[in-house]
Symmetry: C2
Subunit: 558 residues, 2 copies
Amino acid sequence: MRRATQSPYVIGIDFGTLSARAILVDARNGRELASAISEYPHGVIEGSLGKTPLKSQSALQDPRDYLHALKEVVPAVLRKGKIRGDQVAGLGTDFTSCTVLPVFANGEPLSFDKGLAKNPHSWVKLWKHHAAQPEADLINEIGQRRSEQFIPTYGGKYSSEWFFSKVLETVREAPQVYRAADRFIEAGDWIVWRLTGRETRNVSAAGFKGMRVHANGSDWAYPSAEFFAELHPELARVVEEKISGPVLGLGSSAGGLTAEWAEALRLRPGIPVATGNIDAHAGVPACGVTKPGSLVMIMGTSTCHLLIGEQKQEVEGICGVVQDGIVPGCWGYEAGQAGVGDMLGWFVDHRAPKYVHDEARRKGLSIHDLFSEQAAKLRPGESGLLALDWWNGNRSVLVDADLAGVLVGLTLQTRPHEIYRALIEATAFGTRQIVNAFTSKGIAIDEIFACGGLAQKNPLLMQIYADVLQRPIKVAGVQEASAFGAAMFGAVAAGIHPDIHAAASKMAPRPKKTYKPNAENRALYDALFMEYDKLHDYFGRDKNSVLKKLLRIRRKGK
Amino acid sequence: MRRATQSPYVIGIDFGTLSARAILVDARNGRELASAISEYPHGVIEGSLGKTPLKSQSALQDPRDYLHALKEVVPAVLRKGKIRGDQVAGLGTDFTSCTVLPVFANGEPLSFDKGLAKNPHSWVKLWKHHAAQPEADLINEIGQRRSEQFIPTYGGKYSSEWFFSKVLETVREAPQVYRAADRFIEAGDWIVWRLTGRETRNVSAAGFKGMRVHANGSDWAYPSAEFFAELHPELARVVEEKISGPVLGLGSSAGGLTAEWAEALRLRPGIPVATGNIDAHAGVPACGVTKPGSLVMIMGTSTCHLLIGEQKQEVEGICGVVQDGIVPGCWGYEAGQAGVGDMLGWFVDHRAPKYVHDEARRKGLSIHDLFSEQAAKLRPGESGLLALDWWNGNRSVLVDADLAGVLVGLTLQTRPHEIYRALIEATAFGTRQIVNAFTSKGIAIDEIFACGGLAQKNPLLMQIYADVLQRPIKVAGVQEASAFGAAMFGAVAAGIHPDIHAAASKMAPRPKKTYKPNAENRALYDALFMEYDKLHDYFGRDKNSVLKKLLRIRRKGK
């Protein structure tokens, strides 16, 4: 680790799905001096690539967009924050994941090559590129048969979104691209490579998405060559040939900023650049969380649950568990709910009747706010409604994208705001189910934090979560938790703070609000959760449940 | 039975919930010459009676309204049909049921008495007066304990809507009214009493609502004095004191029209007036149905299923089975679904989003028609949705007003017209459940007829019923089946036809349309019905089902 420099400023850069955002922070106290955002010129490439039609569920990106945004946002925060470039001591980044691209040995993307650029597989496959489901199915089938360690580590199932599903899709559909690629790499590691001139990988993405997992009681390992050869003969040496190399812990410096990039960003050459990180994960220390027993919920269209644990445990239906994966020195657990804000948005878009629109306009409220105002007056259970929150499938505990939503207790007297509340409650019960999956394995959850859009904007929802979980929930004091966390890891890489614990204690703002559980609602919510749990198992665990049969009927009818 | 007169015209008068309607028919061929409608000035009295607040779920009427409407509609059809009053050979009526009032020995309602009029119990309790649920509960408790015959006859449960629930409510809450009443009578029998000056009761209402039931292999009987005394000491002699008297078969003449009413209605004195009848029941012969093995569905806000059978069978969860109760010489069975058109109306009112309103306006369609147009393009099962149609409870087979609706299979891609179709399908599955309840007991259903607003107006719904039941469904050729059927029974009472079979063969129009089952949809609907049946038992049969628990939680929270 480098010695602390005199200069206390750091920059965190968050590469999202549609844009990149930078924030400039004083590492001594966490004061945010400026932020800037730049949209990717090509956004998400779907449907077709130029004139080439894309497979259904494809979602690509152009790596030039990341570089373009980088050159905009860093000088912008310097300008806005009135800080000279040579006052910046370090950089940190975070990126969507698993977002993967094939590159040449020098780090140049294959999509920069005129000939290869015509093939969609030469481009960045964005996290939400879901076209590799057949590959994921094969990986799970072979992985389960061979009892590969990644299967329990990933809660029983490897996702179509992840690293080797995407690479396997490439080797199966475009072997010439696979062969031309010297390396496959997470976009978050690639951007760090660009900035430092040095190829590294981060322990978090490698662990959570890339099959670099720990067997119980042993060190980490990738699956064997035999496993990869079974997936596809050309993959037998994929680890050695296309992936191997240094895997660095979070907060390590991946290298110094190159002269070329220092000039482009108006920064000092050689300042440390932190190793890459996953966007949601970077938000955890930004909430002030670095100790075991803390759960952070990143709540937006979907919810990501990140838990810091002291040891590894197999937990049903989690997304993954990785040593040093969120905070160095601890085990990081990830779980999630696939539809939260999305489901409420669906309800507002497709189920709000005209009279609700009229009333909202009259009162000058959004539909969400009108529903919240009305729903806040209801007692738990008053509407007689109960829902299963699976409008977008179930990510944890059941890990089943084929499940769908259920709504129970409708009558001629049921009104829209009652359903709105029932949907919120259902997502809270879904979180309680996840919390129970951890605590039933003896993994402590002492504190719960929330960040993201829903946590900031929907107080009714937050209070219901506190009541359903019967625990206080602390809403993060930062608005842009990921970029802020990236800046914190940048401060550690720059040696301003000795580790992420120290960085968090100095930099993370105090929670801006704590929602306290209302003890009066405890018994009612306990009773309602028992019914939720009953429906959860009835519809979710049986392979011949009504939901499964409906899906089969739906497919048979085609 | 009287001899046929020369004059072939008859009038049928249907007393509905909000209005009375008369039609003038040529009994030789069923040609409808005129119809007229008159709304009741006081409609349904709810909330308060003058300044007296009413109990929740009370629904009263003013008997003067019936007389007022009668004096309007009969002269109106003569005028419109250009028929002289002395050309009318007979009258028939039908009435909502169970609609009950207390009267003096001369037939004068207690509500006409200034002193008694202040008490709500002196007024007509309309069929949908649901305030007597505690009384119905007591009747069922004591009836079950004593193994009274009315319990199996009524499918296991006596309703809060029915005769003795309402009378028991009166004696418990207003003993002075009970004592002042010389008689309690169905409004349908009371109107016939007014017209003829003679107190009679009709076999149908007495059997379906009034506990005048057949034990297996024996003649009819009311429950014993011991039973009534257990309900309330003052009820011990209720049958002898307040109810006994002639009970006449359908199509019998209850007497000749009085001189006073002949003058008021501009008809000939002494013409036969048919005995009273229940409104839905009167519609059966109007569909041309008088033989065993025929099911008639009267489809509107709710659906009433009337089946003609050859013998008595105990069938789970039917409303009742009565000898001569629908067609003389046969057993009449009644079953029902509590929310059909109502539920679709709820969906349109409270769940149609703004963009659907906009599109309907642009296309010049009603919301129902727009949804139907879109839903007609879906294959069975295509939406992945399935519902339980219990928005207004379950009337048959489960007989449980506390059940509520369930909607399964919702996703972020679910659109409103898909739910609209799922609700229609759910009501069709509910009817299939009822059909199965009959046929599983060996009661034949050879033909299915439909009448009522939904049958006339919603072709998508009718086709789905034909497909789900995999049977042709014949839509009645009459628009106003009840009034038409009343006219047919009037023609029998007048001796124009020897019996209702002959009347039906001469007068009932042919079905206006037959919906034929689409064999391609059979397998898909069989598969969907299996899932419906699974949910039906899971949510409906268990006393600790999620729906029951939700109701308990709802009540506990109060």
